[in-house]
C-alpha cells in the first residue's frame, strides 16, 4: 500500500514539476554562467522539491514554488562563497538612465547596428555582469518570457519593483553592450 502511494507521488511529481526543468535550467545557467553549476543547482532544486512535495499547495503556481527553491539554493551556494554581497548603486543607475534621454548620438537603428558587432559571448558576459537583482528580472522577462505577475510572485516583491528593476536592468545592459561594441570597433558618431 505504501509502495503505491510512493509511486503516485513520483508520477505526480514527474507530471507536474519536471516539465518546468527547462525554465529552471535556463535561469540557473544565466545566473551561474556555468553549465556544470547549473546542472548541480537544478538537481538540488528538484531533489528538495520532491522531498517537500507534500508541502506544495496543489493548484498554486508551481513554477513560482520551484523557482523559490532554486533561488534559495542559489543563495546558499553562491552568496556564501562571495565575501561581499552583490550590491547595486541605484542612484548611479538612475543617473545613467537620465543620460540616455539627453543623448543624441544613436538612434535605435544605429544602436542595433552597434550591437550587430557583438559576439554571442559578449552578450552572455554582459548579462552575467548585471547586478543580480537586475539580471534576474531581465532573464525571466526578456529570455524566459514570464509575466510581471509571475516574476513578482517568484521574487516576492511588488509589481512596481519588477518594472523598475527591469527598466534599470535593460539600461545597464545597453550600456555594457555599447562598451563591448566599441571594443569591437564600432565608432560612435558625434
Amino acid at each position: 500500500m505504501k509502495g503505491s502511494v510512493k509511486t503516485a507521488k513520483q508520477h505526480e511529481f514527474e507530471v507536474e514539476a519536471l516539465p518546468h526543468a527547462d525554465l529552471l535550467y535556463n535561469y540557473a545557467l544565466r545566473m551561474t554562467n556555468n553549465a556544470a553549476d547549473a546542472d548541480d543547482l537544478v538537481q538540488e532544486t528538484f531533489l528538495k522539491a520532491f522531498r517537500f512535495w507534500d508541502k506544495y499547495e496543489k493548484g498554486t503556481n508551481i513554477r513560482a514554488w520551484l523557482f523559490r527553491i532554486l533561488k534559495n539554493s542559489y543563495i546558499n551556494r553562491y552568496r556564501r562563497e562571495s565575501k561581499e554581497p552583490d550590491t547595486v548603486d541605484y542612484e548611479e543607475v538612475q543617473n545613467f538612465y537620465n543620460t540616455i534621454r539627453d543623448e543624441r548620438s544613436e538612434s535605435s537603428d544605429l544602436q542595433e547596428s552597434a550591437f550587430g558587432q557583438l559576439l554571442d559571448d559578449d552578450i552572455a558576459t554582459a548579462i552575467a555582469k548585471l547586478p543580480e537583482d537586475f539580471r534576474t528580472v531581465v532573464i525571466l522577462c526578456d529570455i524566459e518570457g514570464l509575466t510581471y505577475e509571475e516574476i513578482a510572485e517568484f521574487l516576492a516583491v511588488p509589481l512596481g519593483t519588477v518594472r523598475s528593476r527591469l527598466h534599470r536592468g535593460r539600461s545597464l545592459l545597453r550600456e555594457k553592450l555599447l562598451v563591448y561594441a566599441k571594443d569591437r570597433g564600432y565608432t560612435v558618431k558625434d
Binding site: 548541480d40 534621454r101 538612434s107
Partner: protein, 282 residues
C-alpha cells in the same frame, strides 16, 4: 502626461502591457518629446535585441535522466531503511540494537535539506579531525546529527556526493555492513564526507576528508602519533575505553577514518575486505 510619468511607463509600454488611456497618453507624449521617444526606442531595441540573440537552451538529456533517476531512487529510500531496521530488530536483541536505534531515529526523522545541517559540528573551532569523527559518530547514534540522505545504493551516494568534495571520495565496501545514508559538513572550511553503514546491529561511520590538508596541518590536524603511521602508508588504529574504535588510513589524496562501537581488531578485520569505488574524481 509629463516626462516623469512617461518614464514610469516606458517599461510596461515596451512589454505591451500598457493599455487604454495610459497607452494613448504615452503615445501622445512620445510624439511631442524627442528625448522621451529616444528613451522608449532605446529600451524597446534592447529588449528586441536580447530576444533575437539570446535563446532558451534545451534541458540537457543527461540532466533530465538524472532528475528522473533521482526521483525514483528517492521514493524508495525510506522503505529501504525501514526494511533494514525490521531485519535488525528481528535478528538481534543485544546492546548493539540500542546503538543502532540511534540510527533509527535518523531514519524516521526524514531528510535534512541544508548542506550544513544545524547541529552538525561544522561550525566549531575544533580542528582535530579524529575528535571530529568521534563526535560525529556519537551525534549520529544519539540523534543529534542527522543524515542528509538515506540510501542503501552506491549510485545514490554517487549523486549525493557528486562535486561536493575536492578530494576523490570512496564508498568502501565493508564486510557485514552496508551503507544506510550519508551527510556532508565542513570542518574549518574543509569539506568532510560521512558515510554511515549498518549491519549486525552496529553502526559504522566512515569519515573522509582531504589528506593533504590534514597532513600539512592546514585547518585540520591529526595527533602526531597517527600522522607518523600514515605518512609511511600504514593504518593507524586506537581503541577507547568502552570499546569504541577508530581506524585511519589514506588512499591517494583521501583520508578515511572509520569509527565503530567494536574492538579495534574486529573493525580492522572487517575493513580488511575493503574495496573502494571512486565516486567523485577531483
Amino acid at each position: 502626461m509629463n516626462c516623469r510619468e512617461f518614464d514610469d511607463r516606458i517599461t510596461p509600454a515596451v512589454d505591451r502591457v500598457l493599455h487604454g488611456d495610459e497607452w494613448n497618453g504615452f503615445g501622445a507624449h512620445a510624439l511631442e518629446c524627442p528625448g522621451c521617444m529616444h528613451a522608449y526606442e532605446s529600451e524597446r531595441s534592447i529588449k528586441r535585441f536580447i530576444g533575437d540573440h539570446v535563446t532558451m537552451v534545451p534541458l540537457p538529456a543527461p540532466l533530465l535522466a538524472t532528475l528522473q533517476s533521482t526521483i525514483r531512487s528517492e521514493g524508495t529510500l525510506t522503505s529501504a531503511v525501514l526494511r533494514w531496521l525490521q531485519t535488525l530488530l528481528r535478528d538481534s536483541l543485544s546492546l548493539r540494537v540500542s546503538l543502532a536505534l540511534g540510527a533509527l531515529g535518523i531514519a524516521a526523522s526524514g531528510f535534512i535539506l541544508h548542506p550544513l545541517a544545524p547541529g552538525t559540528p561544522a561550525s566549531r573551532e575544533v580542528n582535530d579531525v579524529l575528535t571530529e569523527s568521534r563526535d560525529t559518530y556519537a551525534g549520529i547514534l544519539n540523534g543529534d546529527v542527522k543524515l542528509q540522505i538515506e540510501t542503501t545504493e552506491s549510485s545514490t551516494l554517487h549523486t549525493f556526493f557528486f562535486r561536493k568534495t575536492d578530494f576523490p571520495l570512496h564508498v568502501p565496501a565493508i564486510r557485514h555492513y552496508h551503507p544506510v545514508g550519508a551527510l556532508m559538513d565542513d570542518h574549518g572550511g574543509v569539506p568532510c564526507a560521512q558515510i554511515v553503514y549498518a549491519g549486525e546491529g552496529i553502526v559504522v561511520c566512515v569519515h573522509q576528508t582531504c589528506w593533504e590538508t590534514v597532513r600539512d596541518g592546514r585547518l585540520l590536524s591529526l595527533p602526531e602519533r597517527a600522522l607518523d603511521v600514515l605518512r609511511y602508508g600504514g593504518t593507524y588504529s586506537e581503541e577507547e575505553e568502552g570499546g569504541r574504535s577508530v581506524v585511519v588510513w589514506t588512499d591517494g589524496r583521501t583520508l578515511s577514518i572509520a569509527v565503530a562501537s567494536m574492538p579495534s581488531q574486529q573493525l580492522l578485520g572487517d575493513l580488511a575486505s575493503v574495496t573502494t569505488l571512486p565516486v567523485s574524481p577531483p
